[in-house]
């Protein structure tokens, strides 16, 4: 076991992890931030996307130890300080951008990273950016609409 320290959603946290502990397991099991979902074991589905130092990464594709000293944002960090939904989250709710919701944390994190890079994406750019996020419910249509709405609202 080793101790890992990082900033998660603005707070400094540390925990005891095994060398093989994935960042996704660390945030879920050690920090109880279960908004980050795990949908596969092949780094394909994107349910586990978080931001590490501002970049969207699949947290199942990183050891917790590799995030030592990093600044990590999870879906829980997307809410406003008063606990109300952040812009992207609100847009997903308003536009019915989810059905079962399993993919949603990853979708929101990818969408936020996209809007950070490109505040006014076209539909094609949105669809391209979401290539690493798989949704089995919505057919993506309302997800795209939600992100367009979030862009307009920002």
């Amino acid at each position: 076991m080793a101790t890992v320290t990082m900033t998660v959603n603005g707070k400094s946290v540390s925990g005891e992890v095994e060398g093989r502990t994935l960042l996704s397991d660390f945030v879920r099991n050690n920090l109880n931030l279960t908004g980050t979902h795990i949908g596969c074991d092949t780094s394909q589905c994107g349910a586990c996307v978080v931001h590490v130092n501002g970049k969207a990464v699949k947290s199942c594709t990183m050891f917790a130890l590799e995030a030592e000293g990093s600044s990590v944002t999870t879906i829980e960090g997307m809410a406003n300080p008063d606990g109300s939904l952040g812009t992207v989250q609100q847009a997903f709710q308003d536009n019915h951008g989810l059905q079962c919701g399993f993919c949603t944390p990853g979708m929101v994190m990818s969408a936020a990273a996209l809007l950070e890079e490109n505040p006014n994406p076209t539909e094609t750019e949105i669809r391209e950016y979401l290539e690493g996020n798989i949704c089995r419910c919505t057919g993506y249509h309302n997800i795209v609409k939600s992100i367009q709405a979030a862009a307009a609202a920002a």
């Binding site: 080793a2 095994e18 060398g19 093989r20 994935l22 074991d41 092949t42 780094s43 394909q44 994107g46 996307v49 970049k55 969207a56 990464v57 699949k58 199942c60 594709t61 990183m62 050891f63 130890l65 590799e66 030592e68 990818s110 990273a113 391209e128 950016y129 290539e131 690493g132 996020n133 798989i134």
Partner: protein, 283 residues
């Protein structure tokens, strides 16, 4: 489990003197772990200073081995690198490009590695270092077979070198998959070429991936088309079976051998045309 995070090259190379599993972006590493069994000793090279980033020097470009695909996409390379950038955009998805590295792609040595065909057409070389030696190997000679590269247990791929290209060089990369996104190639083709002021093909490098154990250059076809009028090739590029040498496409879940055989010809034509169109645009 011992997990080592060297921050400079000399400590990275020193830590390789005891056998270890190298990891960088881990995007090949995790999905291939069997039963979650993690090797006992891991050296993470993703933060080794000398292995991250791109520099332009007199003999050419040095792309650090741990440079991510996202960094390659964002770098202001000349048009000769358009093919490599296009391949970078095809590696998995944005999140995979944010962590996956160029050396990881080469060392994993998948027949379907998207990074390899463009590097073959750029005559790229792999910089391999150990604590007491440095050598440069052509990508062609470095990748020996599926999952097999010319790398000693104490060596790291520290950089990829791309020699200086002529000003008017353009390149292109096309990948055929069974859907548009997040897909492993059925076949892919990279082309790098230049056109003379007289409108003739000055040089033409073509590489095909996913149709043989290791991606290969197509010397017969290159020779056949060099010297021809570029504009004529926009209308008609004759490719006979004998022009594509050394391809042994397999039948697997992604496509049959026959399908790959015919698709690759079509894909070669489209990629060559695409590079010609780009070249005519910049001249």
């Amino acid at each position: 489990m011992v997990h080592i995070f060297p921050e400079n090259l000399s400590s990275a190379l020193a830590s390789m003197e005891i056998p270890a599993k190298v990891i960088a972006g881990c995007t090949d590493f995790y999905p291939s772990l069997e039963n979650g069994h993690v090797p006992d000793r891991i050296v993470d090279v993703s933060k080794v200073d000398e292995m991250v980033g791109i520099t332009k020097t007199t003999p050419g470009w040095r792309i650090g081995g741990s440079t991510t695909w996202t960094k390659i996409i964002d770098y202001p390379f000349p048009p000769a690198f358009d093919g490599l950038k296009a391949a970078a955009r095809e590696v998995g998805s944005i999140q995979i490009q944010n962590t996956g590295t160029i050396a990881g792609n080469i060392c994993n040595a998948s027949p379907a590695a998207d990074g390899i065909p463009p590097l073959l057409t750029l005559d790229a070389m792999v910089e391999v270092q150990s604590a007491d030696s440095t050598r440069l190997v052509n990508v062609e000679d470095f990748v020996l077979g599926p999952r097999k590269v010319d790398l000693g247990t104490n060596e790291l791929v520290t950089a990829i070198w791309v020699p200086e290209t002529r000003n008017n060089t353009t390149s292109s990369f096309l990948k055929l998959g069974s859907r548009k996104y997040l897909v492993i190639s059925i076949a892919m083709v990279a082309v790098t070429l230049s056109i003379s002021p007289q409108g003739l093909i000055e040089f033409l490098n073509i590489a095909v991936g996913s149709c043989s154990p290791v991606a290969r250059r197509m010397p017969v076809l290159e020779k056949k088309l060099t010297g021809l009028r570029a504009e004529d090739l926009l209308d008609d590029i004759r490719i006979e079976v004998g022009d594509l040498t050394g391809l042994t496409p397999i039948t697997d879940i992604r496509g049959t051998s026959e399908y790959r055989q015919s698709a690759v010809r079509e894909l070669c034509q489209s990629t060559i045309r695409d590079a010609i169109v780009k070249s005519l645009e910049i001249t």
